[in-house]
């Protein structure tokens, strides 16, 4: 199957506010976003919790996991460890976000295999830089896709019309946004529905 033309990012954060902001940053950077509220939910989504994943087809491949460090239950570090220990998922780059710049913490995360450590509040420039980094790393003959995405993305910002560009980019079914239980969660703007059964993670 050809590579999805948009990067799919799994964002993990227990804060409603931060989830909404990171989601917006990613969408502006032309990434598909799935935002979940905990490490446990993230593992469920990725299919690592033993139960059947809600998503099981190639089109829903996750290209990047962006997780908060301090979360109740499973920390971002613990989530990172579980992902890197998995033969299936260890190749997915994981980036940790935190509002605290604690050097031993940063070191520990990088040693465990985190790609990068971002200080909150995360900026648009951080996200764009990540996107470009992931694009470069994804697949061999990716220069064309990388160029396309950047061109379409800047055009999108210029004309400020999300809906047109969405259908231009996705000719195949790709992941939709599973919002965690946030009353203000913006509805998924995609008109395409994934083939697999959808369940709300919340």
């Amino acid at each position: 199957m050809e590579m999805a033309q948009e990067l799919h990012v799994l964002a993990v954060d227990d804060s409603h506010v931060d989830r909404k902001v990171i989601e917006r940053l990613l969408k502006i950077s032309c990434c598909k976003v799935t935002a979940v509220e905990s490490g446990t939910r993230a593992l469920q989504y990725l299919g690592l919790d033993g139960e059947k994943s809600t998503m099981g087809i190639d089109g829903l491949k996750v290209n990047l996991i962006l997780t908060d460090y301090s979360m109740p239950g499973m920390t971002g570090y613990e989530l990172l460890k579980k992902i890197k220990e998995s033969s299936v998922l260890s190749k997915i780059p994981v980036v940790i976000m935190s509002s605290e710049k604690i050097l031993p913490r940063i070191d520990r995360c990088l040693e465990e295999g985190a790609e990068e450590f971002l200080l909150k509040p995360v900026k648009l420039s951080d996200v764009k830089r990540l996107r470009d980094f992931i694009l470069r790393g994804e697949g061999d003959d990716n220069k064309e896709t990388e160029k396309n995405i950047k061109q379409v993305c800047s055009r999108k910002r210029k004309f400020q019309d999300d809906s047109t560009t969405q259908s231009m980019l996705s000719a195949v079914v790709t992941a939709h946004d599973i919002e965690s239980s946030s009353p203000e969660s913006s509805a998924s703007s995609e008109s395409l529905q994934p083939l697999s059964k959808q369940s709300k993670i919340g």
Partner: protein, 137 residues
């Protein structure tokens, strides 16, 4: 009429920044708005109010009776501080940090007093932002 409202909104925002109620994070959030998402910042701030109400309530309950779990108090305030930082609520964030310092010092009176200040700053900001968004619409 339209232009006057815009000028008032811009003036108010400048004033909120100058007086330190807000910092540049608020501006960064506004830069994420566009024609397709014109109310993004207001939506984020509304989420902030919902989350904050919960954080404040939980901290209040935890401050009521001993024994006081300062680690837990610190953690709750850390979350509130995080949200505040994400919307650029500079003064609120500063008082949250002060609260955390009192937690580290295991000073319950200090915590209580600072918490009142946190709530006051939060209420003040909320009122000002509500005015601002009304002007903006």
């Amino acid at each position: 009429m339209e232009n006057q409202k815009k000028r008032q909104a811009a003036y108010m925002k400048r004033s909120l920044l100058d007086q330190g109620y807000l910092d540049e994070q608020f501006i960064h959030l506004e830069e994420l708005q566009d024609d397709a998402n014109p109310n993004f910042v207001e939506e984020v701030v509304k989420l902030y109010y919902t989350d904050s109400a919960r954080y404040v309530r939980n901290i209040e309950l935890a401050l009521e009776n001993g024994p006081y779990d300062f680690a837990r108090l610190d953690n709750m305030m850390y979350q509130f501080k995080g949200s505040s930082s994400s919307i650029g609520a500079r003064r609120v964030k500063r008082h949250c940090s002060q609260f955390q310092e009192y937690c580290n010092a295991k000073n319950i009176e200090g915590c209580r007093n600072t918490f009142q200040e946190v709530k006051q700053e939060y209420d003040t900001l909320k009122t000002k932002l509500e005015t601002y968004f009304q002007m903006e619409r």
